[in-house]
């Protein structure tokens, strides 16, 4: 479903991604772990072109998306993204946050969009918060709304960029619960995370990144219980 060939990304002189090759299959849940500055987030952000790759190909369903002729908006419709800092629209209510893109981009009627919006709010357990503004929500609630907002476009792929890193510890669980549910329903997911327990439980595959490369990858039990690479071992010994 997602094929990444020889992906390079530099910011000025700083080379962040150094030739990544990776294939992510439909319905797969892939967690990306690794130390800060290893290029995890940049890799994820390249997948929907929030970062423009310096070199290499990103192919989604057979279409090379980092081709200037390609309409990136069409591709982004199919890929939801959840950010570390939520990025809810503060001047819109919870429901409006969710219905905006379906109405303006997919040209749904307000009625249809709100129906989808309310269903999604129920799914993330926030039916009673439809008409409040984001500032009245807790961090965990904000992130659940952000997930609902991304799902409203009915994406084929969901990207998560450290979705729980900005949360108070007691709110991490509620967000992971929504993500776990999504994984069980067969959503294709790429998750950059520091939640090793969650990665072990939910991921089909875990990628360990360091220094702009995927150093090691495997099933959670392979990677967590029997890491082969020295850098993986050293990283895991610090975080587990």
């Amino acid at each position: 479903m997602i094929k990444v060939n020889n992906l390079y990304k530099s910011f000025g002189k700083l080379e962040v991604l150094k030739g990544i090759n990776e294939v992510i299959e439909k319905n797969e849940v892939v967690c990306v772990i690794g130390p800060s500055g290893s290029g995890k987030s940049t890799f994820l952000r390249c997948l929907n072109l929030l970062e423009e790759p310096t070199d290499g190909d990103i192919i989604i369903d057979g279409v090379k998306i980092n081709d200037p002729a390609q309409d990136i908006n069409e591709i982004r419709k199919e890929m939801g993204m959840v950010f570390q800092s939520f990025n809810l629209f503060p001047h819109k209510t919870t429901l409006e946050n969710i219905t905006l893109a379906p109405m303006k981009v997919n040209k749904l009627s307000q009625e249809d969009a709100e129906k989808i919006g309310r269903e999604l709010l129920e799914r993330v357990g926030l039916s009673d918060k439809a008409d409040v503004y984001p500032r009245a929500l807790s961090g965990g609630q904000k992130q659940r709304v952000a997930i609902a907002r991304a799902l409203a476009m009915q994406p084929k792929i969901m990207l998560f960029d450290e979705p729980t890193s900005a949360l108070d510890p007691e709110m991490v669980g509620e967000v992971l619960e929504v993500m776990r549910e999504l994984a069980h329903q067969g959503m294709t997911m790429v998750i950059v995370t520091h939640e090793m327990g969650f990665a072990r439980e939910v991921a089909n595959r875990v990628l360990f990144m360091d220094g702009g490369n995927i150093v090691e990858q495997g099933t959670p039990s392979e990677l967590f219980d029997n890491p082969q690479n020295e850098r993986t071992q050293s990283f895991l010994s610090k975080v587990l």
């Binding site: 929907n48 929030l50 908006n73 069409e74 982004r76 419709k77 890929m79 939801g80 993204m81 950010f83 800092s85 990025n87 809810l88 629209f89 503060p90 001047h91 905006l100 893109a101 303006k104 981009v105 503004y133 500032r135 952000a146 907002r149 991304a150 476009m153």
Partner: protein, 222 residues
């Protein structure tokens, strides 16, 4: 005191209308030009960026007084001699154009500051949902930017009211010009210019209250 009342009456019946005409026109076109210039300045294409940047720098780098003189006597003068007098601008029209162009440059910079104050994640979130750049700007960035720029925009509007006094040099019979004419008739300069100052203050103070009210309204809906 007697003269003050005479002068105030004269200003209110003649000058205020001209000042307000220029202000309202310049306010409207200033915001319009300012928005365009701001988007031009932030464009990733070279040509719109070059045009917008030159415009803003030239306007900000020259006195409004000189702009008014240059535009009315210089450009309008050329226009008149080129067309044999068939096309000419009245002082009022020239004044409106000068003030609109002048205000536009400052408004552009205010808008730019406002847009840049919106968190980068807002644009990213909008784009990640498949919204094109322009739609994201209109739906997400500008509504948030307006809130932060309202105080500076209000300030710019007040400056604009006061700047129209410069148009007295090109013969627009706005408040200051009416005052000058009155003073040259009655020789009572103290009370005459006191009257002029009072009228400006009433106008700008009203405007400043109005802006405050708008700010509070926006804060409530947040």
């Amino acid at each position: 005191m007697e003269n003050l009342i005479v002068v105030l009456e004269k200003i209110i019946t003649t000058g205020v209308a001209e000042t307000l005409k220029v202000t309202v026109v310049a306010l409207f076109f200033g915001v319009l030009i300012g928005l365009l210039a701001c988007l031009g300045r932030m464009s990733k294409h070279f040509i719109p960026r070059a045009i917008a940047t030159s415009y803003i720098e030239i306007i900000r780098g020259t006195p409004t007084l000189v702009q008014a003189l240059f535009f009315y006597f210089g450009i309008n003068g050329l226009l008149v001699s080129a067309t044999g007098g068939d096309v000419r601008m009245t002082p009022l029209v020239a004044g409106m154009i000068v003030c609109s162009l002048n205000s536009g440059a400052y408004v552009a910079e205010i808008f730019r500051a406002g847009i840049q104050s919106v968190d980068k994640g807002q644009m990213e979130a909008a784009r990640s949902l498949g919204m094109p750049q322009k739609l994201a700007m209109k739906e997400i960035i500008l509504p948030q930017a307006v809130r932060t720029i309202l105080p500076s925009l209000g300030n710019e509007f007040i400056v604009l009211v006061k700047e129209t006094s410069i148009l007295s040099v090109i013969g627009v019979t706005e408040i200051t010009r009416v005052g000058q004419i009155q003073a040259s008739i009655n020789y009572k300069v103290f009370s005459t210019y006191l009257g002029v100052a009072i009228v400006y203050f009433v106008l700008t103070f009203t405007l400043s209250r109005l802006v405050n009210y708008l700010e509070r309204r926006m804060a409530v809906s947040d």
